[in-house]
Symmetry: C2
Subunit: 508 residues, 2 copies
């Protein structure tokens, strides 16, 4: 068979050639982030950090609108605090950064050596339940102090052995919400409210479809009574847990002594929750929308919406720049997404082609190439990042400006639609064990990452079955969907009766 002619793409390798390497190359070519000299820690570059700032802006507004306030707690956690909650120790004390000294001294060889040993080692927070719990126990005295609704934007550290930019790094940025309530019901409502906030954000800002569900006991947050999550499908058909919300019952309240007098004067333990999303979301954004030409950013989170690329020769540069600058000024006055349209005019030196492709790889939603012919006809030449280069079109300048918000909305919607279609095409209801095993067995041994996708299957509720599947196929139950109807069926593995399907998948 003759080899097909290879279509040139801006990213090498393509997704189908080598998905994990494609992911790294998209990040590199979009200047999103890179590895640092500190093992497992990343440097987030301005284009990537700007995505995080936009994520923060939207979520922070939503947190405040639901009554939460931001605060800041210490980076360090005393070792004894981590020892307080038994399951939590198991889950978080294992791989973490331990501070043991508070000084460096010059040693005999002129090099610096740690000195001033600490009486009690300090742990760089992997999550802040225990230290925040200690503060809550001081702040909460009476039912009048409840609910206490706090959020923190912070860096956390988990000493991961195998790291991948944004998805799994030793240090990452996140927000962690921590709340305390007078009743179990209120805490449960809070847990689901924040899950809804996350799902709304994922769908309507990231244009990333997610399934809301509950984790099984095996996958629960260490110390939680129940863990809820949003799960998204990446383009390699693997699941990404994009956010979690935990109902902690009274476990942490008991460990930290968060007690209050109720309205009858009786002392009770509070009911607490915690919930978080992290810079991992950026990994999800990349793998939901990116293509073989690089990143594609949904307009509602884009650092900039439009780049204008003046096509100039020496003799016309001034007039082309003037046209582009006045176009940019007009566009910047247009409202979009409760803000204004953001425009870059790229006057850098360099070849026009290289410049256009640098923006395509960065995923900017719209790129306009403007030269003397566009000026003469009072038009703009429009490239949509969500469509191919062949679909660029010319439009009157005034019409383009007047309809820019609609165009950005249309791109936002098209990305969401495409992602839903992809997920639907790679989701299957499976009712037999053979089909289940076949679905998750790669066709191509060299590409173990390629497989069926999400399997909706019945499950008997047994952790043993879960573990067996994980061992055999490296597949886990991503969640028990909240919104799915109950349905009589039989466990896909054991044949035992089951009332609802759960989602099985490989995952990040």
């Amino acid at each position: 068979m003759a080899q097909q002619q290879k279509v040139k793409t801006a990213i090498t390798p393509t997704r189908s050639e080598d998905y994990p390497e494609w992911y790294q190359q998209v990040i590199k070519n979009a200047d999103l982030a890179e590895n640092s000299p500190v093992r497992g820690c990343m440097v987030i570059r301005p284009w990537g950090y700007s995505l995080w700032e936009n994520i923060q802006k939207v979520l922070d507004t939503k947190f405040k609108a639901t009554g939460h306030e931001n605060a800041y707690f210490p980076l360090f956690i005393p070792k004894s605090f981590l020892e307080k909650e038994a399951e939590h120790v198991e889950g978080f004390a294992k791989e973490c950064a331990v501070v043991t000294h508070h000084r460096l001294e010059v040693g005999a060889d002129g090099k610096l050596v740690p000195a001033g040993p600490l009486e009690e080692p300090l742990i760089v927070r992997p999550t802040s339940e225990t230290i925040i719990g200690a503060m809550f126990s001081k702040w909460v005295q009476s039912y009048r102090d409840l609910p206490l609704l706090i959020n923190q934007w912070a860096n956390v550290v988990r000493w991961e052995m195998r790291t991948r930019l944004f998805l799994r790094t030793a240090e990452f940025l996140w927000q962690e919400g921590h709340t305390a309530h007078a009743t179990k019901e209120e805490a449960e409502i809070e847990t689901k409210l924040m899950l809804d906030v996350y799902a709304d954000f994922a769908e309507n800002y990231m244009a990333m479809p997610v399934i809301k569900g509950e984790k099984t006991a095996v996958e629960r947050f260490p110390g939680a009574v129940s863990t809820y999550c949003i799960e998204a499908m990446m383009q390699d058909c693997k699941a990404l847990q994009a956010g979690t919300s935990h109902f902690l019952g009274q476990n942490f309240a008991k460990a930290s002594e968060i007690k209050f007098l109720d309205s009858t004067g009786k002392e009770e333990f509070a009911w607490t929750t915690s919930w978080g999303v992290s810079t991992r979301l950026i990994g999800g954004l990349i793998m939901t929308h990116g293509d073989d030409d690089g990143l594609i950013v949904p307009p509602r989170l884009a650092p900039s919406h439009i780049v204008i690329l003046p096509v100039v020769h020496e003799d016309n540069a001034a007039s082309v720049y003037e046209y582009c600058d006045s176009l940019a000024a007009q566009l910047r006055k247009q409202n979009y997404n409760s803000g204004l349209v953001s425009v870059i005019v790229d006057k850098r030196e360099g070849r026009g082609g290289d410049k256009v492709w640098s923006w395509i790889k960065k995923g900017i939603p719209l790129y306009l190439e403007i030269g003397p012919r566009d000026m003469a006809s009072g038009s703009v030449f429009v490239g949509r990042r969500d469509k191919s280069r062949k679909e660029r079109y010319s439009q009157s300048r005034s019409e383009f400006v007047a309809t820019i918000a609609n165009l950005l909305d249309d791109i936002q919607k098209s990305l969401h639609d495409k992602a839903i279609a992809f997920r639907d095409a790679h989701t299957r209801k499976i009712d037999s064990k053979d089909e289940f095993y076949e679905y998750f067995t790669p066709n191509n041994k060299e590409k173990p990452e390629i497989h069926g996708g999400f399997a909706l299957a019945h499950w008997n509720g047994s952790s043993e079955v879960e573990k067996q599947i994980k061992e055999d196929l490296n597949v886990t139950i991503r969640c028990i969907p909240i919104d799915a109807p109950s349905e009589d069926g039989k466990c896909v593995i054991t044949g035992e009766p089951s009332q609802r399907r759960v989602i099985f998948a490989k995952s990040y």
Copy 2:
């Protein structure tokens, strides 16, 4: 002499009774922050964190308007990096948090013990010049990559032995700008530009007058060629260094190998700068404006501008709440300071007096006590936090709403004016050594913190003289003012000729 009757204040002790303790009590009573179980680390509570968010918002906008982009660099710095720049090692390697292990294991007694020793210890960043330098050396290749204008919002750790909330804590929040330039001149312009940004922010947002100046060699940032600062006077007449901007010459570029090819193809080291402000600014805000009733927040940084306190009895609660809510809704539509007016309606249970005082102690600019009589006359009863309780006044509701932005501007200006007047009243030109020593010698041995204030005096430029004054009086040269005219004179200590006065003061 008969003891004067003590006027009751909301904060005990008063500033004149015990200034350091007054400071702690203002923070406590305003719910700004508190000490945490981790030695030297503070917890910033929502009202305090909200101040920091407002500081961030304004500064971040200014940084971006001057061409800077945000990025994020690792929390950890390899020990070897700190060893690269000789003076920098001296300045920062001494007291810092050292991570030596990456795991905790359960020991024989069931307690957790550090395990997994690191090959090279990691330092929790006290400042990021060295790690950012390492990245800049990769990013900068050609003059086309310059200038590189980066800012980072982050937490940093310096292991302080004696800590004080906001002013000196082991962990604090800050921003650190780091820039690289092709020429010395450009880097110097950048250094001063950012100093101006800080000064503008201090004067026009914090309402805190500052003096811009250069540090002497003794007070310079470790590794810098020159350090510029803004210095403010607190109400105990001590100076607070509120922000610094450093011209680093080629020192860090050489240590980190930040090299570029200039337009002629010649390899050169870049010229770098760094500049930062921190949560220390909140300490400055407290000590500039606070009074014996607690915090006073300048309107342009206030978490909320107005609190409405409904004065209700059981039979009228509904109608009073309605009046207050509709007033709040009207006010929230008014523009102020490129945003909208922020209003809290305080419907908490509790005694009216306690509630009013809780807001006075938090420093909210305006508090409105609204009862049936105000409703009947369509008016509001206005308390300005910058004036005494006796000066409260009644005003027609419509007029109050229509002029709210002017009123907030007036409060902002009155705070600034008052602070300038205070500083001027405690600044003196001093030309004799005797007067100088007397100025800085406390009248009252029990209150060493009370002394003259800022002394403007001639100095011969000698570090020896500086050290002697520090030893004798605990007074340092805060800065060599930039904007002061040159003036022939004689060093206040040695009588040697001098061309300009510098500022001497005790300081935080």
